[in-house]
Amino acid sequence: MTDQAPDGQYDAWLDAIADGEGHYAECANGHGWLPPRRVCPTCGSRELAEKPLPDAGEVVTHTTITVPTPQFEDDAPYVTAIADFGPVSITGIVRGVDPEAVEIGTMVGIEVGERVTTGDRLVVFSPR
């Protein structure tokens, strides 16, 4: 695991997901973003509220990566996907299913796992 200071609200966000209390930042006009954010890039609103992340997201695109960065050497091949959780979309690694079985439209839950190569924490999607 990398020995460095935590990345503020990002690590706090992972902690929250691990506790089953995942959240996102929503502006006054309903635009959703991942923390940290001080302003909504879409409308400029600075009224950002913490909202609970929906239980499940839908895979909108995915890829099986066979040529990884060194930090994922022992993880490959693995599936990286973008899942739509309503007001926000999130990038994560899909586990618990054959890579061939991941499809656009697959429903996934979100949790925190560990990178095989380095032990660092990462966002993991599991089919629901």
Partner: protein
């Protein structure tokens, strides 16, 4: 407003030069550009220089003054960083400074040294053009990001890996006569489809190689070119730049590149031309799908129709709308920080008739260069025209 002229250009052979330093690569391209321009180096007002991964690949920051020194300039020098669009951003900065009268002569260029660190470290270095917290830590690689866009494109508009293979075949064929190109080897659709997968659905032949190289050009004001009787018939008549959310997952469309739409619209309006006027394009095909997204953003094709352009033979050197006659990033190679200026050089040479593929655009007068950074969170588009 007067339009800056391209007075000279120089490009190294793109390829694997692991033992050559960035400063040596840039010196070759920069001196060639200066010699070609006929401009007295003492007249150069500034160097605008593109580079992306110098800290990681060479442990070298602050490359601007280093590169000015390497080509014998006593002039202020600034590095531009916009991932793979670094050199395009440098060109844009130079065009703006020449137009507003701040300068009469600017050397624009870029260099990247990549193969010395090996594939894994280069993959890592390229990945940091994405959002480190939310994308890189979820295993995203540069090919992986384009794979996510490719799958989304197929889902939204149709098309297949075989269509992408036709783009690779075309660009390899174009590069056969380009001695600057890294890969001068013909391939077949079958070769491309059977190549190892890097990030599904993209395989080895959907991806540009890892490349060392440099490119430079001497841009001057119109008045300087006239006063010094320079042989500089090609003008940069339009410049545009667009931006987008850094992370793919924050964008409303995964199969469109709005940053390039904005850059193209701005550049066309600036030049007073439309997509219909374009005779030839060099676009940022770091992956085959990227060429599709680019030609749609440039308005050369409707959404969903760019995918079949190569399959239908429309974008090859015999087609109506030749794209990437240099071989593109796919076959010419992609030394990241040099790419935007190499595109500018290519369009200049295609329009002035000195490029080995210029016969594909014999009567061409308008060319565009599209240079994209990361997953197209930065894009520059430049319009070049025959002025004389």
């Amino acid at each position: 407003m007067s339009d800056p002229r391209v007075a000279g250009a120089g490009v190294t052979k793109f390829g694997k030069h692991p033992e050559r330093t960035g400063r040596d690569l840039f010196a070759e391209a920069g001196l060639e550009a200066l010699d070609d321009s006929g401009v007295d180096p003492d007249d150069v007002d500034s160097l605008y220089y593109g580079n992306f991964m110098g800290e990681l690949a060479e442990h070298q920051g602050h490359q601007g003054p280093l590169m000015a020194e390497a080509i014998g300039l006593d002039a202020p020098a600034t590095r531009f960083e916009a991932a793979c669009a670094s050199a395009g951003a440098a060109v844009r900065g130079a065009v703006q400074a020449l137009r507003n009268g701040e300068a009469d002569v600017i050397v624009v260029g870029g260099a990247e040294r990549m193969t010395n660190i090996g594939t894994a470290a280069a993959t890592d270095a390229l990945a940091i053009a994405a959002d480190d917290l939310y994308e890189v830590r979820a295993g995203m690689t540069f090919p992986g990001a384009y794979a996510l866009m490719a799958r989304s494109y197929f889902d939204q508009y149709g098309g297949s890996h075989e269509d992408l293979a036709h783009i690779a075949v075309k660009n390899h064929e174009h590069a056969l006569v380009n001695d600057h190109a890294q890969i001068q080897k013909e391939i077949t659709v079958e070769d491309a489809l059977e190549a190892p997968t890097i990030a599904s659905p993209l395989g080895l032949y959907d991806s540009c190689p890892i490349t060392d190289g440099a490119a430079a050009a001497v841009l001057t004001s119109e008045s300087y070119a006239e006063a010094h009787d320079l042989d500089a018939p090609i003008a940069v008549t339009g410049t545009g730049q667009g931006g987008d959310n850094l992370a793919l997952h924050d964008r409303p469309h995964l199969a469109q590149t709005p940053a390039a739409d904005k850059a193209a619209a701005e550049a066309y309006a600036d030049a007073g031309v439309g997509a219909d006027d374009v005779d030839v394009a060099e676009v940022h095909d770091c992956f085959t799908i990227a060429e599709v997204l680019a030609i749609e953003s440039l308005g050369l094709y409707e959404r969903g129709e760019g995918i079949a352009a190569a399959t239908n033979g429309e974008t090859d050197r015999h087609g109506e709308m030749p794209v990437n006659l240099s071989g593109g990033l796919k076959a010419k190679g992609h030394p990241v920080g040099a790419t935007g200026v190499a595109q500018l050089a290519t369009i200049t040479w295609l329009l002035d008739g000195s490029h080995p593929r210029a016969d594909a655009v014999t009567d061409g007068t308008v060319g565009v260069a599209h240079n994209a950074g990361g997953t197209v969170a930065s894009t520059t588009v430049h319009v070049l025209e025959v002025a004389e």
